[in-house]
Subunit: 196 residues, 2 copies
DNA sequence: TCCGAGTTGGACGTAGTGTCCAGAGCGTGG
DNA sequence: CCACGCTCTGGACACTACGTCCAACTCGGA
């Protein structure tokens, strides 16, 4: 528990919220701990490791992956590892549902067309400014008619997107918002001063 | 290794072929073993765990999940767990690409009227430098051993990603590449002078 | 040993940043 | 109608960070 806890937490964190990690004590046949539980089991419950009888261990003492079905119908993929010294049984249950759905969609829709080369990255911060401002224009009307709250909202969004870490961003934002550079900094100070 | 091997194999098996599990020896700073390798590293390579310095450990001694980018452009989610007695570092790298594609499709079809509520792209240009450099380290070895061509290649990649449009990027790159700021500009001029 | 390629730290001029303020514009209430 | 408060403005300013340049240094090869 002391020893394997971090590893279990790591697995649970990596796959959250789609994986449940269960650590068993094979000697006492009880559940020691559960990370990110969704099967309803909790620490102290009986392990019921008998189901492993029907599965053959592979090399490395790993059982599975083998399928499971939860009471609510969710399908899982599970693997179990026998850990030694101290003895423990590590069981990872992965909710296969989201991936099955995604796979089905991909198979149905993505098969004929190009496999999406890679979006790469945005070095068009200039465009992003116009993009954010533009979408706000659709909500709030023309930029010239905006009030202070509108500007604050948009600036807050731009700021938390890290736009202002880019060189020449502030003047560009001022231009897009049809305000002066001074105002941008003033409003920015206001936005930042009230959050942290 | 004897002790953690089964757990590592279990994780690798569960997520195969999309996850790579690396077990490090923090004392010797070497890779002890790799399950389902796809980043090119293998047992005996230096660990280069320095990149963890920039990540905060959560509770349970787990780092991450934090993003990484491979040299070929694949995006990864990684978690790292510090294991004690015996000391070891467990690192799981999950190829996020398939999930991102699936998620994008699901989002596109499940929300037909999505007004793009949150673009929220990478505001971690700082991290991107370390990602690019880090993934190159895996291909080319430790940064101290690089020659000029290696630096040129990495700088070219960083430059075309627009990294240098960000404030304080140049000194940060210099730090990551273990060269002086002057050299960064010199090499950068070379990279830029031969392309356009 | 000398040479040249490459790197370095420092110096320096400049672009761009962030702050400040006096004043203009404007709606509101007296 | 004026006075007041609120907001934006344009310019001034100090300052940070950028990008360039150069003399000095290191290091491997002729």
């Amino acid at each position: 528990m002391e020893r394997y806890g971090p590893a279990c937490a790591a697995i649970a964190a990596l796959l959250s919220p789609h994986a449940e990690v269960v650590l068993h004590d094979p000697d006492e046949d009880v559940v020691l701990a559960v990370w990110n539980p969704f099967s309803g089991r909790e620490a102290g419950d009986p392990s019921l490791l008998g189901e492993l009888d029907e599965v053959r261990p592979g090399p490395d003492g790993v059982f599975g992956p083998y399928p499971k079905v939860l009471a609510d119908g969710r399908t899982l993929s599970s693997v179990t590892a026998m850990l030694r010294d101290p003895d423990a049984v590590l069981c990872v249950n992965l909710d296969r549902g989201p991936f099955e759905q995604a796979a089905a969609l991909l198979a149905a829709f993505a098969a004929p067309v190009a496999p999406r080369p890679e979006p790469l990255f945005e070095h068009d911060w200039f465009d992003r400014v116009n993009e954010v401002v533009g979408s706000s224009v659709r909500l709030r009307g023309p930029v010239e008619r905006w009030g202070k709250p509108d500007r604050l909202a948009v600036l807050s969004e731009l700021d938390s997107s890290g736009v202002f870490a880019v060189r020449r961003a502030a003047p560009e934002v001022a231009r897009a918002l049809k305000v002066s550079r001074s105002t941008v900094y003033a409003l920015l100070a206001e936005v930042r001063g009230e959050k942290p």
